[in-house]
């Protein structure tokens, strides 16, 4: 999984194509010089603002009509409170920084918890009732209070709709206090990506491409670089220095290396044909997604039972293996697989006659 996150300046981020209703609510977004100075800033009046807007002229008319200086005083204080509220909310918003951490793993269509760090850089004014929303995605969280020069860690539950490499969503930071006249928000784009695994579905009988057992040399990249230790022998030039058995070397005063034995694993493959009869069909693409989800869920179910699973997708072959790292490798490949047109990237010959996951057009 590719993960990573960082903080960039507010406002310069991408806009997600699938926005939530909260994102579509009418907001005033500044343009021109103000917009350039406060990128990502937007303003949405609340009902309190409309009440204020209706009250002030009435109060002004009453003061003007009666010449009552107490009413003038009240009117002045109300206007002063409006200014103070605007100044404080703007200050609070400009001093907040958010940083979104990518989750360790995320499956499409399943709830996932993102870690959000909200930092208040203001040296004096605490921030309260700060709402953080994900841009274009469901999920929000409220930071009840962020003390000056402190960071609050919050968990934010959301859900990715589709598999694949997804940019971390922008975070929309909203403040309302002190007087709740406006919902002022600023959009903080987050750098980094999340690799979203295919959707998990309930699977029936698994369709294996090949079931005969054969010798497979385990990958060196795997933990332990091979099977069990078969024997110890003296070091010969060309041997991997990582195979040196240091205890025996020290004991025998000569360099001893371990010789490992290859183990036999069943060669069970899940074969996914990337070719679609027609690439321009949305229906076929959706069904391809279902197919990928089925393959991923089958592989995950087998791997969780400790059974080795290999994956064949087009010309790319992932040898059968077990373990968490292998599961992650298989899921990564399935997360990134894309359909191709007819004749492109066919399955290798070894799986040509086997049972494969393939889309065919009816009729």
């Amino acid at each position: 999984m590719k993960t990573g996150s960082g903080v960039r300046g507010p406002g310069s981020g991408r806009t997600s194509p699938d926005e939530t209703p909260a994102d579509r609510a009418p907001r005033w977004t500044p343009g021109g010089r103000f917009g350039a100075r406060f990128p990502g800033f937007s303003l949405k009046p609340t009902w309190a603002f409309w009440v204020f807007l209706a009250t002030v002229p009435c109060l002004g008319a009453a003061a003007l009509n009666t010449g009552n200086n107490a009413l003038y005083l009240l009117l002045s204080l109300v206007m002063g409170a409006f200014v103070a509220s605007g100044a404080f909310s703007r200050h609070t918003l400009s001093r907040l920084r958010v940083r979104l951490a990518a989750p360790p793993e995320a499956f499409a269509g399943a709830p996932v918890r993102l870690q959000l760090a909200v930092t208040n850089t203001s040296p004096w004014v605490p921030a309260a009732a700060v709402v953080c929303r994900l841009g274009g995605m469901p999920g929000s969280v409220v930071a009840a209070r962020v003390a000056p020069r402190q960071t609050v860690e919050l968990g934010l539950q959301t859900m990715f709709a589709r598999r694949g490499s997804r940019p971390l969503p922008a975070v929309l930071v909203e403040v309302r206090l002190p007087l709740n006249f406006f919902v002022k928000s600023v959009r903080w784009p987050q750098s980094g990506e999340v690799l979203v695994y295919p959707r998990r579905v309930r699977v029936g009988a698994i369709r294996w491409a090949s079931a005969e057992r054969r010798e497979v040399r385990l990958s060196r990249a795997r933990n332990g670089r091979g099977g069990e230790v078969d024997q110890l022998r003296e070091f010969h030039p060309g041997d991997d220095t990582r195979d040196i058995h240091w205890k025996q070397t020290a004991r025998q005063q000569r360099t001893i290396v371990m010789e490992r034995r290859s183990r036999t694993v069943p060669s069970r493959f899940l074969a996914l044909d990337r070719q679609l009869p027609r690439l321009d069909s949305e229906v076929l693409r959706d069904r391809f997604e279902d197919l990928v989800s089925e393959v991923a869920s089958s592989a995950l179910a087998e791997l969780r039972r400790g059974e080795p699973v290999g994956l064949v997708m087009g010309s790319a072959v992932t040898p059968p293996d077990t373990g968490t790292a292998h599961a992650r490798r298989v899921l990564q490949r399935l997360a990134l697989v894309q359909p191709v047109g007819p004749g492109e990237d066919p399955l290798p010959a070894l799986a040509a006659g086997d049972v494969v996951y393939r889309l065919v057009e009816a009729g």
Partner: protein, 686 residues
Amino acid sequence: MSAVLERQRWFAGLALLVAPPLALTGVASWPFVAAFAGVAALVLASRRAVPPLRPWMENLLAPLILVAVVAAGGLRYGVLRPVAQLAILVAAVRLPGCGERSRGALTATMLGIVGVAGIASSTHPTLAAYLLLLLAFVLVMSGRLVAISLAGRSSAAGGPVAWPPARQVGGSVVLAALVAVPVFLLLPRLRSPFAGIPIDGRSISGFRDAVALHGIGDVKLSRRVVLRVAFPETEKGRVSPDWLRLAGATMRRYRAGSWVEGRLHNEALPVRPGADLELGAVPPHAKLYEAEITLEADTSTVFLPPGAVSLHAPDGLVLFRDPGGSLRTRRVDPPLEYGVRFDPRRLQQPPPEAADVDMPPDSGRVRELATRVARQAPNPLAAALAIEQHLQHNYGYSLSSHAPVREDPVQWFLFRSREGHCEFFASSMVLMLRSLGIPARLQAGFAGGERSGGEFVVRDSDAHAWVVAWIDARARGRTGSGGWAGLAAGALAPGRSEGEWRVFDPTPPEGRPGVADDGGHGLRLGWQSLETAWDRWVLTFSLADQLEGLRRGIEAVGGAMPRLLAVAGLVAVLAVGAALRRAAGRRRPAIEPRIGAGPAVSRALARAYASCARAGVVLPAGATPRELAGVVRLACPVAASPLAWLVETHERCRYAGGATPAGPKLRQASRAIDRALRRGASSRRA
């Protein structure tokens, strides 16, 4: 605590907070306020969410509320009072169940109206503190309600519902107050044309030289210092309270509920520099007293003690005497200091005229009352005393009574309300005396004061109205209409009547200003100063003050123009400098144009450029480091590897915040590149 319960408690708390001004200012009757506060206290104390009243019950209460408001006076006392009382009762009905979202908006609106009514009726300096407290409460309430609302809506609230930060609340209050001060001073004090009808009849006023009974204001609540009076030749304990009856206007003409004097016959008085101005004849063997008066209010009236016979005014002061004998001047900047010699036993007034017995039409009931009250009186003095005592003992003193617009205020006071302030009492006595043929005038000014050290401080709240009546010693026989023979209009010609002007004060003691001792306490003096400033700059702040401030501002700007121009020039130079510096900063690219002037890695790259030039590797003009690496890879593959490392390191250090590699490593790379390029060049030459 549930969200509904908490919302309910905040609204109830707000209701209790807006209640005190209602009770203290009298804008609403006590039963209304008590019912409102009682419901609010019950809702606040309740441990569970109080359900709203049933609809049928609210429908039943609606007409009862209207009946209660009408029974409490309706529109008789203006608009503000019934509106406030109506809002109070509606708010009291809406308070149960106010925690529900659907009922919160209307409850808040009603509480807002109630709060505005209370504030609009307040004149005390503590109003400022109250407003700040109210703002702080609203800020805390808003913070809590927003937090509760968010906690209810959010999918994952980040912990318990927090209180709004105290610093934010306090800072907002302070900032709002700082903004409010200039806004208050700048808001235009224009009375709009539709302000002709007094909405609440409670405008603020102190002494007025044209008494309009319809519009008397809260004179007794204004604490502005108007005068300071000292009696230098008299011991402290021997000053009579009557000496502090300082008249400012004497009025004879009563028209449609107002006492108005024309200014057409003002007499200009010759004031010789350094000499005293004679105001009246000094009777033989009269004992004269001296008073030193400092006028601190901005007014054109010169207030004089009774029996003033001479005035020592500052040079250059222009004085006029109106037909009532009162002195006026052109408006001068306070303080204005003048000295007066006076005989307290002899009132200085022009002799009686026909206007002093003039009665308004339809005043038969007044005459009947006066005749009935004075039927036992053997002479005019006894009649005047009888009327004075009748008014003092049978009528109540009240500042909150306001005569209906369509009725004659004196008749309304005498026969309907039977309570009023000093102007009602004095006006009634004047008309009752006149109905008996006794010449009488209404005098307005100040009576009483506050002893402060060796002087008396006279405030707006000491403003008062009283009666001066001509008591003729010869008048004995009654006429058929109940008056006294010999006091008919024809007998009022100068020299035909023997009598004197005497002062009568029909106002009950609780409405009569007196002489009070000061505590001499610093805190008290400070509070008095605060009250004075509050009166001057808040309660009585007007369009005239704004225009005056504008005029002074323009004058100040005009006087300091050379200095201002110098400062403006300096600011302009600084601004241009800042703008140029900013523009230069914008033009400066993110990286140094000359590679080699930057950090070590850039210098190493510059050395690579130089090595290429020495080795004869041809580079395009302005080649970037990557272009350099590409050319060298083709021209000299041996140098490509260290150069690629150098270019990559350079980019990482300059643009990605990477650490600069150690100097020896950079030098080693530079040497490797240089060596490879030289070798390549030699091989090419060979």
